[in-house]
């Protein structure tokens, strides 16, 4: 690949050595022989290739006597000659290296204006320690990574609470009523809901506290209300319908199909003329984004006795509905910029961001893995989880001992021998659920669970049960 770049060439001519043109590579190579080689600064991490300078330049014997005989009338010229390839085939990395020698290049290009360079200046330039920009970048990145790894989910949670505290000063009610709601929006919302419209809130910031404030002011103790937290990663429409159906005022039968369930609920509500309010935080939540779930909400919205107030956060949220669905919902849109941090809504995302660095899996990934395990494997994993939950509050708890685990498995007939257990544990290791380490206290083998958040482990235990 040819590149039109200037390559500085140092020309030394003398009477004794006529027309000897020496490439900059040669000079630098010679310099490198007398000094310590520079650190290898890989520009790419891939495949652990490190680029070592001067590998391709052949050694040129130094003839010190010859050089010493160079007299005063000899001079070194420095020409910047463009469109000339380096004399020896160089690795791409070295070329890249050379390009990043910004300080050298600048000086060299400056000096070429008068085409004269003093030998002592040249020596200075060549012998200056060179720290490439890459070195600084790498150091910064490493520092950033190491700091990132040290962050825990609790740190992030506390930070989010501090940010919220900064805005609210402890008084959510005042903040929302004075700064956010400038008029009588709550009144309007309540009127529209009662008239058969549905309200949809959008804007920057978490609207969860706004919805709960509206509930406290207008619906608490007056109407049957269901607050659905759509941002939760483990929410399903079936659970929501079950909870609604099982309420004593509605008392509908839970059927197999979701559509039949909602129609049954609507029938009961219409028969009793019971007004119910659904306050849905994040109707565009992860588990609500498919058409079937939105059809269920659409059927609910079309009922004159069901009143929906929902919030939407995702930038592409409204795309979950087509024109027909939008009109079926009868939304009245309100823009409400609370600028409150998304604390509860971003639990999963916060964990994911940190987990990337510690190579842990997200909740959904772990649940998926558990579902794919055999019943026996699940039982063994449950033992680990139960042991973790029982002992997680202890300071020095490293994990369950291998021998202990084996004893328990053997007693419960989960495994016949140690080898089977090890095979099972290897499967868990492959799925990045556990790690086998040696205890710092007594050197025994410890099975450590890689998931450290208690909430998630509790969720897993529920799933396993």
């Amino acid at each position: 690949m040819t590149t039109n770049r200037s390559v500085p060439i140092v020309v030394i001519s003398s009477e004794n050595i006529p027309n000897k043109i020496r490439n900059i590579d040669d000079i630098e190579y010679e310099v490198s022989q007398t000094f310590l080689p520079l650190k290898s600064t890989p520009s790419r991490k891939s495949k652990g290739r490190s680029l070592i300078k001067y590998k391709s330049a052949p050694p040129i014997p130094t003839n010190n006597d010859e050089n010493n005989e160079i007299k005063e009338n000899e001079f070194t010229r420095l020409h910047v000659i463009s469109h000339i390839l380096p004399r020896f085939p160089v690795r791409h990395g070295i070329l890249k290296q050379k390009r990043k020698y910004t300080s050298k290049k600048k000086i060299l290009t400056e000096k070429t204006s008068d085409n004269i360079m003093r030998p002592e200046n040249m020596d200075k330039i060549l012998l200056e320690p060179n720290l490439s920009n890459d070195d600084i970048d790498t150091k910064k990145k490493k520092k950033f990574k190491s700091n990132l790894i040290q962050l825990t989910p609790d740190d992030l949670h506390e930070t989010a609470l501090k940010i919220q505290e900064k805005s609210l000063h402890g008084k959510a009610h005042d903040y929302l009523m004075i700064n956010i709601l400038r008029g009588n929006e709550f009144d309007e919302w309540f009127r529209y809901l009662r008239a058969g419209f549905n309200i949809l809130l959008h804007g920057v910031g978490s609207k969860k506290s706004l919805v709960s404030l509206f509930f406290k002011k207008y619906l608490k103790n007056e109407y049957l209300t269901f607050i659905i937290n759509g941002f939760m990663p483990n929410i399903t429409i079936k659970q929501v319908l079950q909870i609604i159906s099982s309420h004593p005022d509605i008392n509908a039968n839970t059927l197999n199909s979701n559509e039949e369930s909602i129609q049954e609920i609507i029938k009961r509500i219409e028969a009793k003329k019971l007004n119910i309010y659904l306050l849905i935080n994040n109707i565009d939540g992860m588990n609500f984004r498919n058409t079937n779930v939105q059809n269920i909400f659409k059927l609910a919205a079309q009922c004159q006795y069901i009143h929906i107030l929902a919030t939407i956060d995702h930038i592409h949220g409204p795309l979950i509905w087509n024109q027909q669905s939008l009109t079926s919902f009868r939304w009245i849109w309100y823009t409400v910029h609370t600028w409150l941090p998304y604390i509860d809504e971003t639990t999963n995302e916060r964990l994911n961001t940190i987990r990337l660095k510690t190579s842990q899996l997200s909740i959904s990934a772990v649940e998926h893995v558990i579902e794919s395990l055999t019943p026996n494997a699940r039982r063994i994993f449950r033992l680990l989880v139960e042991a973790f939950l029982a002992n997680c509050n202890l300071k020095d708890y490293e994990g369950m001992k291998f021998t202990e685990l084996y004893e328990q498995c053997k007693r419960s007939f989960y495994v016949n021998n140690e080898q089977n257990l090890r095979l099972q544990l290897i499967e868990f290791i492959d799925h990045r659920l556990i790690k086998l380490v040696k205890s710092t206290n007594d050197g025994q083998e410890i099975v450590r669970l890689l998931i450290v958040e208690q909430d998630i482990v509790k969720q897993l235990l529920d799933k396993l049960n």
């Binding site: 990145k141 950033f144 990574k145 700091n147 990132l148 040290q150 962050l151 740190d155 992030l156 930070t159 989010a160 940010i163 009127r191 008239a195 058969g196 419209f197 959008h202 804007g203 920057v204 509930f215 002011k217 207008y218 608490k220 103790n221 007056e222 049957l224 209300t225 269901f226 607050i227 659905i228 937290n229 939760m232 929410i235 659970q239 929501v240 909870i243 609604i244 309420h247 005022d249 956060d313 995702h314 930038i315 592409h316 024109q323 027909q324 939008l326 009109t327 009245i332 849109w333 309100y334 910029h337 600028w339 941090p341 998304y342 509860d344 971003t346 995302e349 916060r350 961001t353 990337l356």
Partner: protein
């Protein structure tokens, strides 16, 4: 941790009502009125369509009975609805009911996608319907294709009075695969000599929807009757007339801006449901404002109908456009002049007569202008004296002069009537202007969100929030954003506006990661798993 669903039951006792708002009565009479208008208009227009279909079926039936001949083609009745088919489901229910009661027909309605996803499913549905009238004597045979031809064999042996025709109703014809329809027609065309088969198809589009049918390979086997009694514009006109230009007691006012918004919105979406929703919102939100100017509806409708007899629709092609001009108080004399100047005697006569004969509710203005119109009409019928002296050197003939005079009189008469509609309208200030309507009904959520994130005006006195700072750097980045660089920029922006002492507890980093999680959640970024320390940008805005 939050629960999935929080349940809050009613615990209020009857003694102390805690919230007065829940006991305030909400006036929804206007909303109910709008619902009734929509239902009535739909049923009125649907009735016309049903009548047209029944006439065609009757005609075909008669032909078959009298001539004792079968058709060579399969009759198709294509209803060009020109609007969203889901809003006309009642039409097809009504059709089914009417056809099955008035004619001895077996109606097979293919309304779900499953029913017409394949020929097998279509024949299965057909078999189910046929079994109601002609029970299957051999239920074990599961070969549907075979059963149809077997059925025809049995059908031919029936007496004339036992025979019933087959009518297929396909409400959403455009969602059916045309090749499946072609194959089905090919199959049925083998049997049309024995049994009367016809189709009723619902088409959302206009003429271009028919092209699909006409251009198909089976066009030569079909005889297509298109029924155009339904169109988006027609529904709109009827609804506007019923709501604002009728004598009903539940009339409510609408401003020119609101009507303009509704007009634009409806003709973008062609959705009657959207129109209903928008009108209900306007009616409910503006319920406190009383109508100030009473529009003389009788006169309004009469003059509109009369002017439609003149060329080029001087008062607007549609009633709603005339109404909009009235609301926005714009005179329309230019068009009126041009129209009257180009009209013939017959057109002018028809214009006057239609006004004279309109069903008036004894409105004083109507009576006044009726009398004037009669006078003009009578004058026109009298001969003008042939006065050669007054005829100057102009080349105009006597009849031309007469026509011009007639035009002038009619124009003055029309102008007088229109002027009473352009009397100064007291400006009823309403908060439901076009901006608010856009905000409440068709907001640009993404633009609003991004504008809020980028606008610095709000933050002059306060610190810019972290999300806004992060977004600022985000907009300047490429597709893959290195997290360390992003953090550096964020940290420098934070340090500019706050004093942060030795960030030992790494609070800025924590804020950065939290902000990153928020951007992930909002859909702006996706934390890249390929290159761990990069985030992928997902949105690009100018």
């Amino acid at each position: 941790m939050d629960t999935i669903v929080e349940v809050h039951s009613v615990t209020r006792t009857t003694q102390k009502p805690s919230n007065k708002k829940s006991h305030e009565k909400i006036d929804i009479t206007r909303i109910d009125h709008i619902t009734n208008v929509f239902t009535n208009v739909k049923s009125q227009l649907h009735a016309r369509l049903v009548t047209s279909v029944l006439d065609i079926v009757k005609k075909n039936d008669k032909f078959r009975r009298i001539t004792n001949r079968c058709f060579e083609y399969i009759p198709i009745m294509a209803l060009c609805m020109d609007s969203n088919m889901s809003e006309h489901s009642h039409l097809f229910d009504e059709l089914q009911e009417q056809l099955s009661s008035k004619f001895k027909s077996i109606i097979i309605k293919l309304q779900t996608i499953d029913q017409y996803s394949s020929i097998h499913n279509i024949l299965k549905t057909t078999k189910n319907e046929l079994n109601k009238f002609y029970p299957d004597k051999d239920p074990e045979n599961k070969n549907v294709f075979f059963q149809l031809s077997k059925f025809i064999g049995i059908y031919n042996e029936l007496k004339e009075n036992e025979k019933r025709s087959l009518i297929f109703i396909i409400p959403e014809f455009e969602s059916m695969n045309i090749s499946i329809f072609e194959n089905f027609i090919n199959l049925l065309s083998l049997q049309i000599k024995s049994i009367s088969i016809s189709f009723v198809l619902g088409l959302s589009g206009g003429d271009h929807s028919l092209q699909r049918l006409v251009a198909s390979r089976i066009a030569s086997k079909l005889s297509i009757d298109t029924i155009y009694d339904s169109s988006a514009r027609k529904y709109y006109e009827y609804i506007i007339k019923s709501l604002f230009l009728s004598e009903s007691n539940e009339q409510f006012t609408i401003t020119a801006e609101q009507l303009h918004f509704v007009d634009n919105g409806y003709f973008e979406t062609f959705s009657l449901a959207w129109l209903e929703h928008a009108l209900k919102f306007i009616a409910f939100s503006d319920s406190t404002i009383q109508p100030v100017n009473q529009l003389n509806i009788c006169l309004f409708n009469a003059i509109y109908v009369s002017c439609n007899q003149l060329p080029n629709y001087p008062l607007g092609r549609y009633r709603s456009s005339f109404y909009e001009s009235y609301l926005s108080n714009t005179p329309m004399f230019n068009e009126l002049t041009l129209s009257v100047n180009s009209s013939t005697i017959h057109q002018l006569d028809t214009c006057l007569n239609s006004f004279i004969e309109h069903k008036c509710n004894e409105n004083s203005l109507c009576i006044k202008y009726c009398q004037l119109a009669k006078k003009i009409f009578l004058e026109q019928e009298q001969q003008i004296a042939d006065d050669t002296q007054t005829l100057s050197n102009t080349l105009r003939s006597v009849s031309d002069k007469k026509l011009n005079r007639y035009r002038e009189q009619v124009f003055l008469w029309l102008k007088q009537i229109c002027e009473c509609f352009i009397s100064p309208i007291i400006n009823t200030s309403t908060k439901i202007n076009e901006n608010l309507l856009h905000e409440r009904l068709v907001p640009m959520t993404r633009a609003i969100f991004i504008r809020e994130l980028t606008e610095n005006v709000n933050w002059k006195q306060r610190q810019i929030p972290d999300l806004a700072l992060l977004y600022r750097v985000y907009t300047e980045s490429g597709t893959k954003i290195p997290l360390s660089d992003w953090f550096d920029s964020f940290a420098s922006l934070v340090e500019e506006q706050e004093i942060v002492d030795n960030d030992k507890d790494k609070s800025i980093l924590a804020r950065f990661v939290h902000g990153l999680a928020e951007l992930d959640y909002l859909g702006f970024t996706k934390t890249s798993l390929q290159r761990s320390f990069h985030a992928t940008k997902l949105t690009w805005d100018n």
